[in-house]
Amino acid sequence: MDLERRRLFGGSLSLGALTLLTGCDISDHESVQKALALVSRWNDRVQAAIFGANRLAPTFAEDQAVKDFRYNAWYGPDRSPRLDDASYRLTLAGQIADKRPWTIERLHALPRVSQITRHVCVEGWSMIGKWSGIPLRDFLGQIGADTTARYVGFECADGYYEGIDMPTALHPQTLMAFQLSDDILPTRYGYPFKIRIPTKLGFKNPKFVTTIYVSNQQPRGFWTDRGYNWFSGI
């Protein structure tokens, strides 16, 4: 019996090696995907536990910031949504006291801070850029958001959607960025603003934001729905 079990064990191991060598991959099995998703949720909890609410991402010198920042989306830059200053409104929803929508004019009048931080893509490349805008926590304070809620979610004009945990939303370096390299955020980079989070992977930095909401329900994420880890902190 014991020997049988051992043979089975050895057999399954060489099977694992074989699947790798032959490219006959078990990743697409539903049960495998479910098990991996379970570990991914465990990793969410680990990442939330090791996240330092006041631990700052490294900042860099002016001359290290890239001027021609890499364009990155699942569609080409010519298909970026062009949001019109006159009709654009930032919608607020969920656990927020003052839900009056914001015009671009009012958003642009908000006080700004600048940061030179590194954008790290889930694929492995990274790039340093300079972003300017209002810390999200200041904006959340101004609109009377319930910061005891667990999440802040975003919806975007290009169909993108994302969400982050409240500790990250309140992190001092999490910005509503209206500028890149000291210029008004160009259309392709997410005009009128993107959420810039140097403590998250790049895909957790939504562009063309049209709605901000506060909720106790974990917001879905565009790439998270496609198998990527939800927390994706760095």
Partner: protein
């Protein structure tokens, strides 16, 4: 044991379980790691898709615009726990029981050179259950490489939360290169390790079933 005795190799259950769990974790990590590497290569080449792990690329692209990197990352960040735990188990167990001290030491440049020359000239005797100095150094190298993979992996996974670690590796890109270099070292180790196991299959029996025996080799001086 005198030269005439039966050669015996035994591996306790703890050593076997942690060994095979590490082997499984490393296979998964290499396969998925190569798929992740392909998404943004450091050097001027990509790994053939067939030897990477992460599901069917065409299906993934059609389904959600992603070449199976999501699955590869999910494998990688699951198998890393398996490797970390089995590695810690293996190292702790071998330290506490004295296996490291008894069988993997001593090592030293002179001893290494002696056995290396003997191996290179095909005069190195293999006795089942005994490790020559070249083997010992290779095992230390593999164990050290796994430690470097875990450390550089943490630096890449959490470059903000563990920023000082990244600085030790010479920056984020430095950590990626270190991760690649020690992956290569481990792949080389596995190639040699498996080749030698094929030459002496009884070592596989011992590592799987716990015990193997062999008739002693004839040696100079044996009557």
């Amino acid at each position: 044991m005198s030269a005439g005795d039966l050669e015996v190799q035994t591996h306790p259950i703890a050593a076997r379980v942690t060994h095979w769990l590490m082997a499984l974790a490393i296979l998964l990590l290499i396969g998925s790691g190569w798929r992740i590497y392909n998404a943004s290569p450091i050097f001027d080449f990509r790994f053939p898709e067939a030897v990477t792990l992460g599901g069917d690329v065409e299906d993934a692209l059609a389904l959600h615009n992603d070449p199976g990197v999501a699955s590869a990352l999910a494998w990688h960040f699951a198998a890393m726990w398996l490797l970390a735990l089995s590695y810690l188990g293996f190292v702790l167990w071998n330290t506490i029981t004295g296996h490291f001290r008894r069988d993997f030491l001593p090592i030293g440049p002179r001893l290494f050179w002696r056995d290396f020359v003997a191996a290179a000239t095909f005069r190195l005797q293999h006795r089942l259950g005994e490790y020559n100095v070249v083997q010992r150094v290779a095992y230390w190298g593999a164990l050290g490489s796994v430690a470097m993979m875990l450390l550089s992996g943490i630096a890449i996974w959490k470059p903000v939360q563990t920023y000082p670690l990244e600085v030790l590796f010479g920056g984020f890109q430095g950590a990626r290169i270190v991760h690649f270099v020690f992956m290569t070292a481990i792949v080389l180790f596995i190639a040699i390790h498996v080749a030698l196991v094929i030459l002496v299959p009884k070592t596989f029996v011992a590592m799987t079933l716990g015990r193997a025996t062999a008739m002693p080799h004839a040696r100079k001086g044996d009557a």
